[in-house]
């Protein structure tokens, strides 16, 4: 049971790290399909 719960916790941690990492790497759909001449949102 400990192995199962540890694995589930690891799944959550990996998912959050992956989400953060992909955003930092610029692989969001918005960033992939926009250029400097394209304005996204209010920024």
């Amino acid at each position: 049971m400990k192995a199962m719960l540890s694995a589930f916790a690891a799944t959550a941690i990996i998912a959050v790290v992956a989400w953060y990492g992909l955003h930092e790497a610029g692989f969001s759909a918005g960033e992939q399909n926009a250029g400097e001449s394209v304005r996204l949102g209010d920024e």
């Binding site: 959050v16 992909l22 399909n33």
Partner: protein
């Protein structure tokens, strides 16, 4: 494994077949353009009509290039009221866009953004909304129904012999960790994948658009990010267990009696993994790797195209020709690559989900004592003797105990 490889190839070919038809249709249409079209196109001056467009979307052959081939250079000069297009017509512009001959310039997005019209998209959308959901759904429901029927007929597979009260360690912590990393993430990926694929058809009519919007956003986040946990688990499981899953002669004995699961008291010998478990292992590894590859292609849009190259290799091997198809398309628009990746990802996932549902059944309600192997890691010695007799002998020998006489390579009755 060889059979699985063949199935993969067959599936890939089947998957690509409509693409071939689409290509043929396109070629046929182009050839047809030289003949006089039978439909009345006088209203459009010979150009395609609304009916032509609708017919093309239904996948029918349409001589839709009736006016293509006219030399744009011979068109009238841009004078007077002709405007920006000069002597070229709207039809020529749209035709060039459709057939990828237009000179499109974009400020960002690269090659994918230069594709403004993409024919195969209609076929993909129809296939995704139709046969994919229909047959994929029935595969999962059919598997569950078969397992329910099996349970009603066979009941739970019990430990036949008298329990010893002693346990042996079947899987270490790190092995169970890898299993649950893969299992937990796969269940999440399966459920969220079904929401994304089938939500429009089943969630919106039942729970409404807002509920589906929330479910779809959450599912997409989970699916994209939990996928990494699955891939890590897949690699760990492969490293830990590949040596134990090499097929050998013992597997033939196991298969010959159906693993003993259909008849009470039949227990073919097996090492750490029996033939059934080996099939599950290789299914997970091969199909899981394939799903991961197509998943990565989807996760990094347009960065990892793999189908044009695969089709080229299959064409060189003569696989589609062998199966009676024409050559697979080797020139794919970036969007077509993504569409094939999505279909392949979903089809292989449906197959693996069906296999895993059966695995979950036999590892839980289907067999007494099986869950302990991945739960606590400790299994009842009698369970081990009935299902993994050769492995139990090895464990006993390592522990310095003499080999029991009744656990030789003959099936225990």
């Amino acid at each position: 494994m060889y059979r699985l490889f063949l199935i993969c190839l067959l599936s890939l070919t089947m998957l690509a077949a409509p693409g071939v038809q689409a290509q043929d249709a396109s070629q046929g249409a182009t050839e047809g353009a030289t003949e006089s079209p039978q439909a009345d196109r006088s209203a459009t001056g010979g150009a395609q009509t609304l009916e032509d467009i609708m017919a093309r979307q239904r996948g029918e052959e349409v001589p839709d290039r009736a006016r293509a081939g006219e030399d744009p250079d011979s068109a009238g000069a841009m004078v007077g009221q002709l405007g920006a297009l000069g002597g070229s017509s709207d039809s020529d512009v749209w035709s060039a866009l459709r057939y990828g001959t237009a000179d499109v310039t974009v400020s960002s997005g690269g090659a994918p953004a230069r594709v403004l019209i993409q024919d195969n998209g209609m076929w993909w959308l129809n296939f995704r909304q139709g046969p994919l959901i229909k047959y994929g759904g029935w595969l999962l429901l059919g598997t569950i129904a078969l397992l329910a029927l099996f349970f009603l007929i066979r009941g739970r597979i019990r430990i036949d012999g008298e329990k010893t009260g002693r346990t042996v360690t079947r899987f270490k912590f790190i092995e169970r960790f890898a299993h649950w990393l893969m299992a937990g993430s796969f269940i999440l990926l399966g459920l969220t994948g079904l929401v994304v694929l089938m939500g429009r058809k089943f969630i919106i009519p039942t729970f409404g658009h807002e509920a589906f919007a929330t479910a779809a956003v959450a599912s997409k986040w989970i699916h994209n990010n939990v996928s990494w946990a699955f891939m890590v688990g897949l690699v760990l499981a492969f490293v830990f267990w590949v040596a134990h899953n090499i097929p050998n002669k013992t597997d033939l004995k196991w298969i010959a009696v159906g693993g003993g699961i259909f008849k009470k008291g039949v227990h073919p010998p097996a090492k750490k993994f029996n033939a059934g478990q080996k099939m599950i292992f290789w299914s997970v590894i091969i199909l899981g790797a394939s799903i991961s590859a197509s998943g990565l292609s989807l996760l990094f849009p347009f960065e990892l195209p793999m189908f044009a190259k695969t089709f080229g290799i299959l064409n060189d091997m003569g696989v589609p020709q062998l199966l009676g198809f024409g050559a697979l398309p080797e020139q794919l628009a970036p969007h077509e690559e993504m569409q094939y990746a999505q279909l392949w990802h979903a089809i292989v996932s449906f197959v693996l989900m069906a296999i895993i549902i059966a695995h979950i059944y036999i590892g839980s309600v289907g067999m007494e004592g099986a869950y302990d192997a991945m739960g606590s890691g400790q299994v009842e010695e009698q369970w081990a003797r009935e299902h993994h007799s050769l492995w139990l002998d090895e464990v006993k020998q390592r522990e310095g105990e003499p080999k029991p006489a009744n656990t030789a390579t003959t099936p225990a009755e």
